[in-house]
C-alpha cells in the first residue's frame, strides 16, 4: 500500500517529496514546521494536514495570504488524490493513490474567516480563477474628453485655457487657473470640474455671481459646447474638442 505523500513544487520545479507519516503535518515559514517553505508570502504557521482515519484534512491556520486548494481559497477541506495546495508561491501536490470510497468534497468550514487579507501581489491573478468561463471583457478606456475656455472680453492677458485638470479654478486668487478681475469677484469665483461624463461648473465664492447663458449657477451645472460664462466683467465661452 502506497503511503500518501506531498510533492513540494515551485513553478515547474519539484523541490521535495514528503511522505505523510505523521498524524499531523505542519506547513510554514519557520523551522519548527514539518514542511518549511522559506518565502515571505508564507506565514510562520501557515497550514497543517491532519490524518483522520483514512482521510487527510487540510486546515489553514489563519495564514495572512490564505491557502488555496485547486485554485479555491479554503479554511479546511478533505484532500483528494491529485489536489494542488497553493501556499504563497509554492504548490504542494497531494498524492494518495489508495482506493477510497468516493466522497464529495465538502468544505468543512465554509464560514471563511472574515479577516481581511492582502492578495499576494506576485501571484495576483493566478490562484483564483473567476467562476464561470474567463472570457474577460476588459473595458476599453473611453477616449478622454477635451474642453477649454476662451476669453471673449475682460480677461487679464489670457486668451485660451485648456481644461486639463480635474478642477480648474476661476478667480482673483493667486492659485486661480483662469485669472479674473472685479471688485466682487471671489478669490475662487467658480470651479469647473472635469468628469468622465462631462464638464461641470459650480459657483464658489464672491458676491459676483457666476452666470451661464445669463442664468446664475446654483449647485452644479453641466457645461455644453458654446455656453457663455459671465462673472464680474469677464465674459468667456466654453468649448469642447474632439
Amino acid at each position: 500500500m502506497d503511503m500518501a505523500k506531498l510533492v513540494l513544487k515551485f513553478r515547474d520545479a519539484t523541490l521535495q517529496e514528503i511522505p505523510v507519516t505523521k498524524p499531523t503535518l505542519t506547513i510554514g515559514r519557520v523551522d519548527k514546521n514539518d514542511i518549511k517553505i522559506e518565502n515571505l508570502a508564507v506565514s510562520r504557521q501557515h497550514a497543517r494536514i491532519v490524518k483522520d482515519g483514512d482521510r487527510y484534512i487540510m486546515e489553514d491556520l489563519n495564514s495572512l495570504n490564505g491557502t488555496f486548494v485547486n485554485g479555491k481559497k479554503v479554511m479546511k477541506c478533505i484532500l483528494r488524490n491529485g489536489d494542488e495546495i497553493f501556499v504563497g508561491k509554492h504548490t504542494l501536490l497531494f498524492i494518495d493513490e489508495e482506493e477510497k470510497p468516493i466522497e464529495m468534497r465538502k468544505d468543512i468550514d465554509i464560514s471563511l474567516a472574515e479577516k481581511t487579507v492582502i492578495l499576494d501581489t506576485k501571484k495576483k491573478r493566478e490562484p483564483i480563477p473567476p467562476p464561470g468561463d474567463s472570457q474577460a471583457t476588459i473595458q476599453e478606456k473611453p477616449s478622454e474628453l477635451k474642453g477649454g475656455i476662451s476669453i471673449i472680453s475682460g480677461g487679464i492677458g489670457q486668451e485660451d485655457i485648456e481644461l486639463t485638470k480635474r478642477l480648474t479654478i476661476g478667480g482673483k486668487g493667486d492659485g486661480a487657473d483662469i485669472k479674473l478681475k472685479g471688485l466682487f469677484v471671489g478669490k475662487i469665483g467658480f470651479i469647473i470640474s472635469k468628469r468622465p461624463n462631462g464638464f461641470f461648473i459650480t459657483h464658489s465664492g464672491g458676491r459676483s455671481m457666476t452666470k451661464v447663458n445669463g442664468v446664475s449657477v446654483e449647485g452644479q451645472r453641466e457645461l455644453r459646447d458654446g455656453d457663455i460664462i459671465d462673472i464680474g466683467s469677464t465674459r468667456m465661452q466654453f468649448y469642447t474638442k474632439k
Binding site: L64, K72, I118, P131, K165, I191
Partner: protein, 258 residues
Amino acid sequence: MVADGLGGQNAGEIASKMAIETIEKHLLDRGNPLIGKYREELSPDTNRILSSIRLANSAIYEAGQRNPEQQGMGTTISSVFINGDVMTVAHVGDSRIYLIREGRLVRLTADHSLVEEQLRRGLITELEAEKSKHRNIITRALGAEETIQVDADEEILLDHDKILLCTDGLTDMVRDEDISRMVLQNGNDPQKACAELADMANAKGGVDNITVILVDCEKDVPITGGLRRVIRSVRGLFARAKEEGLTGPEEEKGEGAT
C-alpha cells in the same frame, strides 16, 4: 482618515496607526519635498496628500521588513481633505468614501479588492460578487509592497453635502440603500447616524471592526466678501472587538481647513 489594519498579532494596529501619524505629519509639514510623481491634473493639495500616503507606505513596508513580528502587516487608507469648496479624496484598499448629496448616495472610491476587480472586468456578476468567498481579499494595501499606487480625485463640495468614510466592517454587512436611509433619517445628528449604522452592522452578525465617520458640510453666510465653509465634522468610532483583536482600525477625524 480611516485606516483598517491587517496582519497578525497587533501588527495591523501598528500599521494603521503608522499610516495615520505619518500622513498627518507630512501633510502639516509643508516644507518637506514631495515624494513620487507630481500629477499635473491634480491640485498642489492633492499632490501633497498623495505624497504623504506614499511616505506612509514606505514607512510601514520598511518597518515590516525590519521587524519579523510585523512582517506582512498592512493597512487600508481612505482620506478626505477639504480646502474651501474643494475636497480631495484619496484611498488604497477597501475602506470606502461616500458622498450624500440631495438625498442620493454616491460612492467616490472603487475598492481595491479581488471581487471588485473581477466585477469591473466583467468576470463575475454582482450577485456572484456578493456571494463570493474572496470578498476579504484586497489587492492593494499600504505596506504590502515597496511602492504603492494611490487613487485620488477631487470633488467640489456643495452646501449640505455629507461625506461618509467607513471600513469594510460596515459595508460587508450593510447595503448602500440602508446606509443612505440611515444617514438621511438622522440628517441633523451625524453622531446618531454613525451609531445606528454600527448597530445595524452588528445586528446583522458583523464580526469585523467598524469605523464610521460622517462629515456634514455647510456653506457659511458670506461675511467678509468671501464665502467660507464651515465643516461640522463628527467622528463616530464604534469598534466591536473581534475575538482576538486581529485587526484594529485606526481613526482620525476628517480634516477641515478654510
